[in-house]
Symmetry: C2
Subunit: 383 residues, 2 copies
Amino acid sequence: MDFNKYSSKVLSGIRFIVTYSLFYPEEKAIQLAKAICVEETVEFPAQLLPKNSYWQNMVGVLEKFERKEKDCFTTIISYPIEAMSPDIVQLLNVIYGNISMIEKIRVERVDLPDEILSYFKGPRFGIEGLRHLTNVYDRPLLCTAIKPMGLTSEDLAQMAFDCACGGIDIIKDDHGLTDQTLAPYCERVSRCAEAVIRANRESGENCLYAPNVTAPAEKILERAIFAKRAGAQALMIIPSLVGWDVVRMLSENSEIGLPILCHPSFNGVYFTSKISGFSAFFMYGQLIRLAGGDASFFPNFIGRFASTTKQDCQDIIMSTKIPMGNIKPIFPGPGGGNTLETIPKSINLYKKDVIYIMGGGLHLGKSLIDSCKQFRKYIESQK
Amino acid sequence: MDFNKYSSKVLSGIRFIVTYSLFYPEEKAIQLAKAICVEETVEFPAQLLPKNSYWQNMVGVLEKFERKEKDCFTTIISYPIEAMSPDIVQLLNVIYGNISMIEKIRVERVDLPDEILSYFKGPRFGIEGLRHLTNVYDRPLLCTAIKPMGLTSEDLAQMAFDCACGGIDIIKDDHGLTDQTLAPYCERVSRCAEAVIRANRESGENCLYAPNVTAPAEKILERAIFAKRAGAQALMIIPSLVGWDVVRMLSENSEIGLPILCHPSFNGVYFTSKISGFSAFFMYGQLIRLAGGDASFFPNFIGRFASTTKQDCQDIIMSTKIPMGNIKPIFPGPGGGNTLETIPKSINLYKKDVIYIMGGGLHLGKSLIDSCKQFRKYIESQK
């Protein structure tokens, strides 16, 4: 192959920027930084490509390399738009595709120019849209999950009804509920949607029911449309189980037109090691927004997962809101073990624009409905 | 909610088994083992569930807990089929959903009884089917990738033609090629498929061209069908970017009816730490087979990724072949930096049933076609 004949070709010059942390001693880190530029683009012996501007721009360009701390180097690489399709699938493939197979490389953040951001519609609702739907403008939103797996659809619906009457704003399926025989999808979703609509009629509030549409590939859209027709007012999905682009597909679909809540199940491994995968900032903020999620659920720094620090949660708050072209800010949704006792410790951090998730914690008191009311009362008292 | 009223309900008794390694000191490990049983099923305060057989079987049951080495405990948990849908999405959600957010838990292997395996069709072709399609029965298969990203469709097709004439059995798109303007999907796939068909006519061989159908959600099936009609003889997909169930969707689709090759891009993070995520045995063998992949590509123990050991590769060889009900054995496909110099070091390990992938390595010699011939000649000489 005569690679020289490409010397007259010109790339657009539009590039996007990825900030990595490389957790290696300096010499190894700089070698790796250069290798990433090649690995994530041409994936080809670099010495075989001519030193002309076409090939030099086709690969990643090392824009900055500096010591952050001992054995950790901040590495900023720009990639050409020509490496993308552009869509979220290929974006992820370029920023962390093959190099996912090399330890101790972490994606800290991604910066896309407007020319690329314009290909991403982002969330349909975002913070403003979800506030409009719930009719709650001046306080955090309250969310719970109906569970445990093992209950009948009838009991799950009763639970949804109680939570809605108790003042919860968003009731999601527990992430483990799909289409099991104990509470089959269509039966459960019909009953729960009906229960929440009935509760809203009684309470005058706008509680949203969000069924879990995580499912086999061909069934996701089908279930989402079923949910919409059954009266569900939102959807929940586990992006890393079904592919991140499914969030966009659901979000863009105008027949559905519902907010999409993103659950972190199965994706923790990208995040927990703190030295490989993704930063909290990228994972639970930027990525969810690019994909089109309206709320990003993640393990709170207080809770049973113990995999985020307070700083991680601060980073998530920031990345759910920082300007990103036409892409709306979204709700951070800390969960994973919140109780009426622990929520006060989170209040100062999250302020107003947050969805607090309390699942099992609401069942620890005398009655579910009382716990919901207590949760709501506490949050309202903090205004 | 009166959980006692479920005491008369009975579960099927069909359970599947997951073997985890927990990398913690004993006391913490046993606590965690018990927590996993709850977290991955009911995700509910365990003390609130009555001690009757319904609820005791709804959760995971700790079947075995034993010290493997210092601060590492083998933990075997059985889960009820009722926790599954049963499909690969919910299987992954149960075995490593929320606990992906807890470090130092590794899934070693999964054992499904025949009652559950019967829901999984597995690969359409497997080793026998791919040998039939390529008409190669007595030696390893040879695979390469057309690249670098940045070439025109015309040049990529010429490269595919040369590789097919040089005796390569499977020519895949490089995993970074999708639908970029430089070599748009339909144009590239049409040209490359035509080139490989033409080469086969000249050589009398049955080289397969496998375009990369990793794409935005709605486009995957569309592209796969386009590829089939254009004459492609196989497909490549990156499961962790599009969701593991997409492999099944492609594999089962009778209009397509092509072998599915699974690329490890983006999934390395589940594997590289060796203490979180998945073992090589589960990740690159069992999981790919359950999903329906016919070949599992992964980083070879010799190569530029340095993220698998020889033992990992041995484990992959075993798990691509061990009996799994009706699910066929598949080809392991070591890649990531093989060259004509390094392949001899792999020969004794992989024996006959393997697909060797050599990408950039084939471009290091005088001419591409000569390198392909040399690769083929070497492999044939080892019979």
